[in-house]
Symmetry: C2
Subunit: 347 residues, 2 copies
């Protein structure tokens, strides 16, 4: 089959690789209908996260089960399924707690020895603990299929940030980061009943989506200027719930700078860079909590799926460029250069 | 009157100072019956927290209202009252939220221009928003009076850590710090229904109190050895709720080291030292939250007071040395040298 392989920073290729097959009785093989490129894939693309030459890449996909191992009970050939961005056994204490990302048998698509999502097919370990079935009729609805793909990462990750930030009905929420995750954070905050949602962003194409997703205010500034603007919008106090969807020192500083005393920063931006951006003394004096991390999206799919299916929420607008598999390298380039927000891949 | 004054590191004196009087119509003057020395007072004593020569010190006290300003409605001369370690106006949005420590008109006893708790009397600003009335009959019950004094800081601070750590009925909790706050954290965790409470400490006099307060296990180790021991006690997973009651880099590292993935560290140890001890990448990968800070004990007194009054909880054993006002300097020395756990002051 054809799949995306990363050889070095900025060297992404689509190549012939061995066809995946069921290796364990708990595996299935999924033929990919939709995949996409994640902002966090760019850390590998830019060389900020190490990859071995030849590793697969891509961790978001949905598709059709092609082959199922003998121990798989929940899926059979022909089922339409979505995969969260980590696989998990579904049977351990962490999976039972809804923290599938800490499953001792879990792993990330594209890690060494595993398939990546940006390919024609994927071997899925622990299929019963990992995949979620989708209605078969969604396969023929292009818009819905795209929206459902967001369940594999960005929508659940935005939701995780909103949960970590403690969004409640009536909350005032601020969102740092105008990428697809930040925009899904806006959507999640709205869905959880936030009354006021302040999106930080300077790209009108993105802030327009933020407004469509529920942002009531847009702050087109960064750093100290953004902090001052959010404080002014909130009577000086800041937002009780802040979603941090970038992962840099600067974005973390901004997030705490706009957080209200007693509030929380829900962070899902993969931390990168040398420092944390955290001022523990300030967090302590103002009782601002930090909660979040890698999102256990598998746990959230059952809650979010019905709202996507019935159209209550539609995250599909975060995908603003669609490419075929052979154009994936161009897709990375477009996201790296910020000419695309999030790239959809149709193998 | 006589009051404790800090002139320089290790130079604590009890001196004649002006008698406090009502200055604002919202003030009262409280004659101190019981005060005490806090672990955080030692940072000033050791020169790790800056003080201007001549500042008062001490932030925990209870006593009898001696004089009340004309606008004070909740208290009159003769009332027995306890003061939380910050004053607060009781009328702002933060006080309404239960975050009295962020009250814009609030302040700490012993800050410049204010009285400290370790003296014969204290001028209390915003008395209606600050003080809590106690039953008059408690004044004649020495043991109860000592227990009630814990409401001014250590008990509410231990409770804040337990709340921050997310202690729930059935929880497994680990407590880093065997000082009075850590021990009150044990008590608070037990009160909130924790099933298993692992206290870290190497001083049997202290861990005996921890056991009396509800600890089910004691780990007499520090650092990596303590992490390994707690992990072994918890089947490798760690404690879902960790109370951090020290405030050093090392204690924070230990706290996160023994926290279960998906859990939380509730921190109330005043951060000191150059670094934070936080590994943001590890927190992110394991979804361990950090929540806490300076405890809004005023908010907790109404909840905790009935349990102290009826004997459901009795924090008085944390006070293991009682001194008169003139012996306060010796009390600091005893706590600094760890020959006393927490020093009670009877002016």
């Amino acid at each position: 089959m054809r799949a995306t392989v990363i050889h070095a920073p900025h060297d992404i290729r689509v190549e012939d690789v061995p066809d995946p097959v069921v290796q364990q009785p708990t595996d299935v093989v999924v033929r990919v209908l939709r995949a996409c490129i994640c902002g966090s894939d760019l850390w590998a693309y830019r060389g900020e996260s190490a990859r071995k030459p030849g590793q697969r890449i891509g961790h978001e996909f949905l598709g059709i089960v092609e082959q199922a191992g003998s121990d798989v009970t929940g899926f059979r050939a022909g089922d339409l399924v979505v995969a969260p961005f980590v696989w998990s056994d579904g049977t351990c204490a962490f999976c039972a707690d809804g923290l599938h990302t800490s499953c001792p048998q879990g792993g990330f698509w594209g890690s060494e020895g595993s398939d990546g999502g940006q390919g024609e097919a994927v071997r899925v370990p622990f299929a019963d603990g990992t995949l979620v079935k989708l209605p078969a009729e969604a396969a023929s609805d292009d818009r819905l299929l795209t929206a459902l793909l967001a369940l594999s990462d960005v929508l659940g990750t935005g939701h995780h940030a909103a949960v970590g930030a403690g969004v409640k009905p009536g909350s005032t929420v601020a969102v740092v980061g105008d990428g697809a995750v930040g925009l899904c954070g806006v959507m999640a905050a709205k869905r959880l009943g936030a009354d006021r949602i302040i999106a930080l962003g300077r790209h009108t194409a993105r802030t327009d989506i933020a407004r469509a997703f529920g942002a009531t205010d847009v702050v087109a500034a960064r750093g100290e200027e953004a902090v001052a603007a959010v404080r002014e919008l909130t009577g000086g106090a800041g937002a009780h719930s802040v979603i941090e969807a970038v992962g840099t020192e600067q974005s973390m500083r901004t997030a705490f700078g706009i957080a209200r005393d007693g509030g929380a920063v829900g962070y899902v931006g993969v931390p990168h860079g040398s420092g944390t951006g955290l001022d523990l003394g300030d967090m302590f004096n103002r009782n601002v909590a930090l909660r979040g991390g890698v999102a256990p999206v598998r746990a959230y799919i059952p809650e979010l799926l019905p709202d996507v299916l019935d159209g209550t929420i539609d995250p599909s607008p975060v995908f603003d460029l669609a490419v075929g598999l052979d154009e994936v390298p161009a897709g990375y380039k477009a996201m790296d250069e910020r000419t695309a927000l999030k790239v959809l891949v149709k193998p």
